[in-house]
Symmetry: C2
């Protein structure tokens, strides 16, 4: 998207599933001197939780704004926009927030707002003109002015979803996601399989990637079988991990002990279907 809009984009690349350290980021900022650093807290194709708490201050020491994608983590993992000095955060409503698809909540720091307000070139998009949106949203108590028609239905749904989050408490939500992900990871390891993210500290509490063991020829048939037989959908792998991982997503309202155990038992049945005998099944047969 940056390139499409005329920005000069430099990618920092790592082997999939390995988080960036703050030292690496600092070194790159000093070398490339970007105006904006973009990072995904939730790298859902690998199941990686990228630590972002130190990146804001590093960015600001280097005259750079920090933009964080929290699509698959907001509500499931701790996130402190102000404390971590994050300038732009966006997310999605249909993941841990447990609302419907179709909205993308976004928030701006005062640094980001100044940058946007001082922009000199025209915004090519109509609906994504943030300065105009801010007037419609009524930030700063500015009189609201009609800019575009959004979905009041979805906005009301989001309000309801947020009220459920407020009732449970964010800390409790983070704890619940963390516990169920540990339960899922333990269950996967008990089946004799390996998790793609080795260090539990960097595992997303919403999406878990599982290494496809040697000798499995058609891993996609597990997904198709589980959908057909059990009406349970596991995530398809995304590049560059196609054929390398299965992905299990459990989040929001569904992050419960029951759903986790259900996912594990369906996944195990899927493994048997494709001819892979899980370790736990072996143990059971030996008893």
């Amino acid at each position: 998207m940056g390139t499409k809009n005329g920005a000069i984009v430099t990618k920092l690349e790592h082997p999939p599933g390995v988080p960036f350290s703050s030292d690496e980021v600092e070194k790159a900022l000093k070398e490339h001197k970007p105006h904006v650093l973009y990072v995904a807290q939730s790298e859902s194709s690998t199941g990686l939780l990228q630590p972002v708490e130190k990146l804001g201050s590093i960015c600001h020491q280097n005259n750079c704004l920090l933009v964080v994608d929290t699509v698959a983590s907001l509500g499931a993992a701790p996130f402190f926009m102000d404390r971590w000095e994050v300038d732009v955060v966006y997310s999605a409503t249909q993941k841990a927030i447990s609302c419907q698809t179709g909205l993308a909540p976004i928030s701006f720091s005062s640094r980001a707002r100044e940058k946007i307000a001082s922009r000199k070139t025209k915004v090519q998009s109509y609906v994504f003109d943030v300065n105009k949106n801010m007037v419609q949203w009524g930030v700063d108590g500015v009189a609201k002015k009609y800019h575009h028609t959004y979905s009041s239905t979805l906005l009301l749904s989001l309000r309801e979803a947020l009220s459920m989050i407020a009732a449970e408490g964010l800390e409790q939500m983070w704890k619940r996601h963390s516990e169920n992900t540990k339960r899922l990871c333990n269950g996967i390891e008990e089946l004799g399989l390996e998790l793609f993210i080795k260090d539990p500290a960097y595992r997303l509490p919403t999406v878990t990637a599982i290494c496809i063991p040697e000798g499995v020829e058609s891993p996609g048939s597990l997904n198709a079988y589980c959908m057909e037989k059990h009406k349970v959908e596991f995530g398809a792998a995304l590049p560059p991990l196609v054929g390398k991982v299965w992905r299990i997503g459990i989040m929001g309202y569904n992050s419960t002990e029951w759903h986790t155990n259900k996912a594990l038992s369906v996944f195990k049945d899927g493994l048997l279907h494709i001819g892979y005998t899980p370790k736990a099944a072996k143990v059971k047969a030996e008893l």
Copy 2:
């Protein structure tokens, strides 16, 4: 929007509420030689229904594509994309379609599709990249590919709204809108007021603009009173007609005799509230 995206835009201007004739359009096309002609079938700030049936062939004789905005007319007034040789049509779901806000249906002719497919510059928007959307929509039977997450809730609502339209029949919907608009216009004239669009053939069957008579100092107080007292909202006037017209919108599911009579009686009460004595009220008092 055109200017923002680097296009050279020439505006054809008329006094508000006067339709463009096909001869005028033809002359302008020959003079300016544009690649695209954009026209609103439904000019809702004045209540004008712009005839568009001849514009497509005129455009194509002049190597120009025709884009038509049908936001406030689709479902309420006849529209024939293929027969009228329209290249791009877009609309909204929350007007005559009687669905929710949040979707904008769009359709392309094969001419428009060729133009889009042969585009050489990058599309700056992610979600509005039509070539990519077409793959996600599965047009041409191309394998569907995930591009962006849209609102399945709204899409399902639209399907339901369209099934209601199919059950009633488009011709019947056009007739219903036409009859209720005539009923509304007659009622307004019986109150001694003048309609902004003089020729009934050019009146939108969804939004009716009423000339504010001489001597009314604060026409907006009628709207505020009707909202407060009757919970009926009349449309605020938009530039360049602020202070010149009131607007009554009745469309879709609500285009009924009952709603029309209700709007008329509330509007009449609003007139009395602001100190304007409608002719019909005078007649009644004389009896």
